[in-house]
Amino acid sequence: MKTASRIYLALVFIFLYAPLAVMILISFNGGESTTVMDGTSLRWYREMLRDGATLQALQNTVVLSISSAVISTILGTFAAMGIHHMRRKALRSAVMTVTNVPMMNPDIVTGISLMLLFVFAGTLLGSETYLSFWTLLIAHITFSLPYVILSILPKFKQMDRNLPEAAMDLGCTPLQSFLKVELPFIAPGILTGLIMAFTLSFDDFVISNFTSGSGFETLTIHIFAMTKKSVKPDIYALSTMIFFVVLVMLLAYNFMTGADERRARREREAKARFLRRLRKETAGKEAA
């Protein structure tokens, strides 16, 4: 069974990482094509590091994605909690349906309808430009919310309802029971939601295209426009760099949690050694 699991995991990962391998390979292409390898070189990496517009787009996207993820996670956590505790089923269904709308609408409809909304609001307020970073952020939060809520809600459902009540019976204030009992339980859901919101923002194209202003370009929009004229390996180099940054972060994270576990293990072993010595000594004393 164990080997079957290993093989299965390996197959899935081959599937998931095959295009990444292709991307990494082509990023080192000495030639200009993305299908024909012509020797190896680092020219595209040099290009990417010099290309101000692309780096700016990358920075924009990172800032946008993190802001959108954090805000939508906070908003979504409270929303999930509120929805879970709603007693009237009809209201709960209604809120869930409305929440899910951005998820159920094709991106292009969400994008265009939000753009229309912003243009309408802009004309009312008489502002100089109708779209900006803030409209983009609002749009991103809006489409991330359903995913966040959908990640956290099952964890609420899964939790034993008696636990927070028991905590309060034992003397916790409602806030404490939330922080010490509920929050740790739903934490994996929050984390999943956060990561999902970040990922959605990072990769989004259609909605960003329609709701961003003239001075703020996200990475995907930038790349999309680049592909219109001869797809070159430069963006492959950029993606490969992102991949390695993420990989390094992952390794660091792994190492840190490994440190946690190693410390716990050492403590346990020290305790076991101490107990053994204690037992030997008491045994020795008894014998004497």
């Binding site: 030639g31 200009e32 094509s33 993305t34 299908t35 024909v36 012509d38 020219r43 290009e47 010099r50 290309d51 517009a53 920075q59 800032v63 993190i66 802001s67 993820a69 954090v70 265009i112 753009m115 243009v119 802009g122 502002s127 100089e128 430009t129 109708y130 779209l131 900006s132 970073f133 922080l179 010490k180 929050l183 740790p184 934490a187 994996p188 929050i190 984390l191 956060l194 295209n209 329609f210 202003g213 003239s214 001075g215 370009e217 929009i221 930038h222 999309f224 426009a225 680049m226 592909t227 219109k228 004229k229 001869s230 797809v231 430069d234 949690t257 946690d260």
Partner: protein, 423 residues
């Protein structure tokens, strides 16, 4: 605070750390949106097609920082250029149609310029006046007479030509027989079934048929369009796919052997795969891309200065070399460096002898069609795409799955009903 952190599990601790880091970044966000535009710095917003301007890559001239420097010399004020890109005229239109898009310079194609003018979405450009105001040299005379008075802007009030080009047939010399070359019918040649590409754009796709049959590409006669659809339906089983930017990859790798595309793009592909050839079937589509100033531009004069700057020698030559499309700029065509950089073959392809620009534009450019014809075009194109449907095994598999799922749900519901009877 400490108690909360200690009590929570490590996962929560990590989540909190993440949130703290994110909050820090949010703080830097505020700094970011403020920076880049301090006192004494002007801004300008340029919206161009992707990779359509010499931007300093691989050591070539950088028009953007070049313009910033030029502006500072000219006025003594700093400038930040916000250069963003779009990928099609229609996308551009969607952004501009609100009338307050925040851009100062846009780069639409001929038919789109006509449409924008008709819908009052452009501001008139007066390069000479703006140059005089800023004490700059005006380069508008670099645009020769054969590029003035185009149908879409007869008084040259709203646009300044930037590039132009024509569609041709790109083919792989290793696999394609020379005798089959020369016209549009090569795209219908059964010998090369499965290796032919076609435009994934309704106007261009229909265009290939219209040029082949000698029909006016701007016809409003529905019968003409229906006839073209028939030809396209004939072609569908023979083509490998309807493509836009994938054409580069597919032709370069030899996955496909024949494709209709633009002359300048052929030159790109040639760099990668020397076995590619090119010719113009007659007649063929010609396009002109122009620079315009949209309505509501917040810095229109700086925008006009930019357009003027792009007409001067260094930016124009560098961009023409980079983009590889033909340039309407006399200085570029007469530049020796440019001719050397491109090479004889490329120069011949881009600038054929005795080329009648005005005549070609009159006869063979796409014009903005009326809404009814556009609707017809759109629905005919849909019909083309939908014809033949998908291979039947897709529908069979989907139906089987649907049945299985319905059965599973029914089974689950019945089981649950039965179990709940125990309660």
């Amino acid at each position: 605070m400490k108690k909360i952190i200690n009590a929570a599990q490590p996962a929560l601790r990590r989540a909190l750390a993440l949130a703290a880091a994110a909050a820090l970044l949010l703080g830097s966000l505020a700094a970011l949106t403020a920076c880049g535009a301090s006192e004494g710095t002007d801004r300008v917003y340029i919206y161009n097609l992707g990779e359509y301007l010499a931007d300093g890559s691989e050591g070539i001239f950088d028009c953007i920082s070049g313009f910033e420097e030029y502006y500072e010399e000219l006025t003594g004020r700093g400038l930040k250029v916000y250069y963003t890109t779009f990928d099609s005229n229609e996308d551009l239109y969607a952004k501009i149609s609100s009338g307050a898009s925040g851009y100062d310079v846009i780069v639409p194609s001929d038919y789109m310029v006509a449409r924008l003018i008709a819908e009052d979405l452009l501001l008139p450009i007066d390069l000479e006046a703006t140059c005089e105001k800023y004490g700059a040299e005006c380069y508008y005379d670099n645009i020769g007479p054969e590029f003035r008075g185009m149908y879409y802007d007869p008084e040259d009030e709203y646009s300044v030509p930037y590039t132009y080009g024509r569609v041709g047939i790109i083919y792989n010399t290793n696999y394609v027989n020379e005798e089959d070359l020369g016209g549009w019918d090569i795209l219908w040649n059964e010998k090369y079934a499965g290796k032919i590409l076609q435009f994934n754009s309704s106007r261009d796709g229909f265009g290939t048929v219209q040029y082949m049959l000698g029909i006016d590409v701007n016809t409003t006669d529905p019968a003409d369009w229906e006839l073209c659809l028939e030809k396209l339906l004939e072609q569908k089983p023979l083509i490998q796919g309807y493509v836009n930017d994938e054409v580069y990859n597919k032709m370069e790798s030899g996955e496909a052997w024949i494709a209709p595309y633009y002359a300048g793009d052929y030159l790109f592909m040639l760099d990668v795969n020397e076995d590619l050839g090119f010719y113009y079937p007659e007649p063929t589509n010609i396009f002109v891309d122009t620079m315009c100033v949209p309505k509501g531009a917040p810095n229109r004069e700086i925008g006009e200065l930019f357009i003027n700057y792009m007409l001067s020698e260094e930016p124009a030559v560098a961009s023409a070399e980079f983009v590889k499309y033909a340039s309407p700029n006399t200085v570029v065509r007469e530049s020796e460096e440019y001719a050397e950089e491109l090479g004889e073959e490329a120069m011949e392809i881009l600038y054929p002898e005795d080329f009648d620009m005005q005549g070609e534009i009159q006869a063979n450019a796409y014009r903005n069609l009326d809404p009814e014809t556009l609707e017809l075009l759109s629905s005919l194109w849909e019909e083309l795409k939908i014809s033949g449907g998908m291979p039947s095994h897709v529908y069979i598999i989907a139906a089987a799955l649907a049945v299985l799922i319905a059965a599973a749900i029914a089974f689950g519901v019945i089981k649950r009903r039965r179990r709940s009877k125990w309660w």
